[in-house]
Assembly symmetry: D3
Homo-oligomer: 197 residues x 6
C-alpha cells in the first residue's frame, strides 16, 4: 500500500498541461487538485440526482472519481491533441496498463480498483457517466474561476458546455444540464462585464 501512496504523491506536483499550453503560469492546477474537484463535484451531483429519485451506488461514484486519473503518474497529463496523434484507443490501452501496474500489490482491493477503472473508461454504468460529467464540470468551474481572475483564451473549453452528451438517464441529464446552464449564466456576467459596454 505504501508504494502506491508514495507514487500518487506525484499527482500533487504534476501540472495540468492544458493551462500551461495556453500560457497560464506553472502551478495553476495540479492533477491531484483536479481529482479532488472531480470527486467533490461527483458527490454533490450524485446526491442531487439521487434526491430526485434515481438510485445510485454512491460508493462507486466516489471511488471512481478518486482513482480515475492515477495513471497519469506514469503517463503524464497528456494534452488533448496528444490523443489525436496517438489515437484514443492506444491512449486508453496505455493508461489502462499503467493503472494496472500502479495497483499491483496494493492489497485485497486490487481487483475492485481495476474493475472501477475499467467501468470508468468504458462509461458503462450510470455512475461512470456521472463521474465523467463531474470531470468536465470541474474543468469548466476551474476555467470560470481563472477567467474571473483575468485569464483569457480559454474559449475552446466552453464549447463542450453546450455540446456535451454524457448519455445520462433523464433525471441525471436534467441536473447536469441545469448546473451547466447556471455556470454559463455566471460566465456571461464576467465576460459581458469584460466587454463593459
Amino acid at each position: 500500500m505504501l508504494n502506491t501512496l508514495i507514487e500518487l504523491q506525484r499527482l500533487k506536483r504534476l501540472d495540468r498541461t492544458g493551462w500551461s499550453l495556453r500560457g497560464l503560469p506553472n502551478g495553476t492546477e495540479s492533477v491531484a487538485a483536479h481529482s479532488f474537484g472531480v470527486s467533490v463535484t461527483a458527490m454533490l451531483l450524485a446526491d442531487e440526482i439521487a434526491s430526485r429519485g434515481l438510485q445510485l451506488e454512491m460508493e462507486r461514484v466516489l471511488r471512481m472519481a478518486l482513482l480515475h486519473d492515477w495513471a497519469e503518474t506514469r503517463v503524464g497529463d497528456m494534452p488533448r491533441t496528444a490523443t489525436h496523434y496517438f489515437g484514443a484507443d492506444a491512449r486508453k490501452l496505455a493508461e489502462g496498463r499503467a493503472f494496472a501496474d500502479i495497483v499491483t500489490g496494493v492489497g485485497p482491493a486490487e481487483a475492485a480498483y481495476q474493475a472501477l477503472y475499467d467501468d470508468y473508461e468504458q462509461r458503462q454504468s450510470v455512475e461512470a457517466r456521472i463521474v465523467k460529467a463531474a470531470d468536465v464540470i470541474d474543468l469548466l468551474v476551474q476555467a470560470y474561476a481563472l477567467e474571473r481572475a483575468g485569464a483569457k483564451g480559454l474559449d475552446e473549453f466552453w464549447e463542450v458546455a453546450t455540446a456535451a452528451d454524457f448519455q445520462l438517464p433523464p433525471i441525471a441529464q436534467t441536473v447536469v444540464r441545469q448546473l451547466l446552464d447556471s455556470l454559463l449564466a455566471e460566465r456571461r456576467k464576467i465576460t459581458e462585464g469584460n466587454a463593459g459596454c
Copy 2:
C-alpha cells in the same frame, strides 16, 4: 450547488502553510491536493482494514475525507501554532460555523454533510478516526516525498509518526501501525543515505 463548487475551487490555489513557514517554495502543496491525498489514503486504508474483518461504512469514510477541509476556503490554512493562540475549541467552533455557511443551500444533502463534518470533528465513529489517521499519513508521505527530493528541517512532523494514538479498534490500529512503520523504514533509507557514512 454551483456556488459551493465555485467556492471550493479556492482550495486548489491555497497553499498548505506548514511548508511555506518552513522555507519550502510556494506551490509545494495545495489544500485541495492534500484533501485528494487524504481521500485516497483513507480509501486504501479502509479497504485493507475491512479486508481483515472490521466492518466499516465505506461511503462515510470517503465523504468525510473529501469534505473535512472545506472550511479552509473561509478560515484559511491556519498553522498549528495558531491553534495554540486561539485555543483548540475556538478553532473548532469557527471552522464549524464556516463549514455550515459553505454548505447552506447546497441542496438536499446539506444536513448529511453537516453530520459528517461534526462526526469528523468529534472523532466519534471509527470512520472518523480512520480519516484522521489518513490525514496524518498523507502529511507524512508528503514530508517523505519532499525529503527524498532534498528538503530538510521537517523533523518535527515525524514525531507524530511514533506518538500518534488514533483511538482505533485493534484491527485498524494494526494496519495504521504497520503502514507508519514501513514509512519510517523508507525514511531511514534516505536520511541515512544523507548522512552517507
Copy 3:
C-alpha cells in the same frame, strides 16, 4: 535577537491569502513584501502630512509599520472572512499573544515593541491611524498594479477606498483622501481602457 530574526524570515515566504483565494498565482505577494510597502507608504504619507504642519513622531510611525504584521509568523495570514468566524476580539487577542511571544527575549526594546504593537492594535495615536491608512493604501496600490497587469475580480477591495474612515485629524485626512482619489483616477484609466468603448 537572532531567534526573532530567524522567525521573521518566514514572512518572506508566506503568501498573502487574499490573492490566492481570488485565483491569483502563488507568490503574488508575501507578507514581508506587503510590510515593506506599508512602511514605505507610511513614511511618504507621514512626511507629506508633517510638511503641512501636523506634528508627528516619525520614529513611532516607522517602527509600528515594520512590526504590525509580525504575529503572522505564528497565526498565518488569515483571510478577512476568518475574522467573521473567530470574532474580531478573539483575533486581536490571539495575535497579541503571538506577538508577545515573538518579542520575548528580543532584548532591551522588548517592552517598547509591545507598546507600539498595542498602540497600533487600538489605533489610539495619530501615528497608529496613519499606519493603518498606509496598510490600506498599500493593499490598493498592489491591487491596482495587479489589475494593470490583467487581474480581475478584485472589486470588493476597492469599496474601502471610498468608504474608509481612519479617524484622522483634518490635515492627515486631506492627504489620505487626495492620495486615494488620485489612485481611483489612475484605476479608472485602466478599467475604462479595459471596457474600451
Copy 4:
C-alpha cells in the same frame, strides 16, 4: 511562419515532467530552456569534435538541436515511463505526425525541417548522434546544477552517464566520454561533500 512561432511559444511554459514527478518545484526547467541547453551543448561539442579532425555539417547539428523537441507542443513532455506503456514505436510515430503538422505551411524550408527531424529520430547521421549526446549531456548538467543547489533523488538519471553508447565515431566518442567523465568528477565533489566525512 507566424502560426508556427506562436505555437512554439508554448514550449517556454511547458515544464519538463521528469523534475515534477521527482518532487522538484514547478518551473524547474521548461522544454524551451532545455532545447536551448541542448543546442548550446551540441554547438560546443561539435566544435570540439571538428577541431580534432572529424568533419561535421555544423548547420545540420544546430538545426536539429533546435527543432528536435517541437512535437511536444502537441504531445506534451511525456515521462520516460510513458514510452514503456505506449511503446517506443508508437511514440515515435505520434511525435513524427505532430511534427509534420507543426511545420505544415511554415514556408519553403518545410521539407528540410522534416528531413532533419527524421534523421534525428533515426539517428542515421553522425550529426544526429551528436545532438542525441547533447540531449543527454544537457539533462545531466541540469541534474548536476539541481543537486548542487540541494536536490536529491535524481540518481537514476546518472546511470546513463556511464552506460550510454551513442554509436559515435572514435573522435566524437572520446570527446563525449571526456566530457561525461569530468561531469561525473564534479558531481563526486558535491555528493562526497554531502556525506561530509
Copy 5:
C-alpha cells in the same frame, strides 16, 4: 567546456526582468527560453529570406542567436531603463568583457565565438541584423501570447513593432515587415475582442 556548460545552466532559471517589472508572475519567461525563441525565429526568418534569393551564412545566424545572451549569466537581465542610467556604451563594454570571460578556455572555437559576439553587438553583417530582428520578434510573439492569456499593460513593447528599423537589405526587410504586420493583425483580433464592442 564543462565549466561553460555549467555556467550557462543559470540562464534556464534567470527570469526576464521585463515581465516581472510589469507585474507578471515569476517564471513567466527565462533567458534560456527566450534565447531558444530567438534562435528558432532566426532560423525560420533566415530560411524564408534565403528562399527569396538573399544569400546568407546560415551557420552564423544560428550560432549568433544561440550565444547573444550568454553574458547575462554574469551581468543579469538588465531592464531597459538600466541602459539609460549606465549608458549604452558602458553596458556593451561590460557585457562584452563578461562574454569574453565566459568563453575563455571553452576550447578551440573561443576566438570564433568572440568574433560572432562582436559582430552581433555591432550589427555589421546582415546575419547580425537578422538575429536582432528575431530578438525583437520573439519578444513580441511572447507579449502576444501573454496578452492572449489575459496579460495587460504591455503596450510599450509594441511601439517597436511599427517603429523598428533593422537596417536590413530590401528582401529581408520585406519578410520582417510582413511577419510584424501579420503579428499586429493577430493582436488586433484579441485587443478588439477585449474591448468587445
Copy 6:
C-alpha cells in the same frame, strides 16, 4: 507621491538574482521582502546598540534601511559579478541617478531622501554603517533559512560572515560580531547534522 508608490510595487515582484543564479526556485526572495528584512534587522540591531550606550539617530537608521534598494526598480537586482564588469563607481553613479529620478516630485521630503541615500552609499555616518551591517545580516539569515530547508551551494555568501569589517565604533562592532557568531553557531548545527557523522 502616488507615482513613487506605484513604481515601488515593482520591488515586490523582482526576484533577488543571487538565489536564481545558484539554482534556487523563482520567487525565493523578492527585493521588497529583503528590504523588509534589512529594516527589521537594522531596528533590532540599533536598539541593542543604543541600549549599550551608543547614541544613534534611530529615525535615520529606519529611513535609510527602507529606501536603500529603491533604485532597483530601474536598474534591476544586479548580481555581484555585474559590479566587477561595470566597476563599483559606475554602478554607484547609475543607481544614484536612478534613485534621484524616482524621488523627483515625491513631495517635500525629496531632498531628505536624497541625503539619506547619499549617506548610505558613502557609509559616512554610523547609522549608514549599521544599515550596511543589517543588509549583510539579513542576507545571511536568509541563506541560513534556505540551508535549513535543504538548499546547498551557498558557501560563498558565508565568507563575508567572518571577513566583514563595517567600520563600526566598538560598541556597535561588538553587537554585530556577537550576532554573526551566534548565526555561525546555528549554521554549524545544521551543516554538521547534514554531514551526520
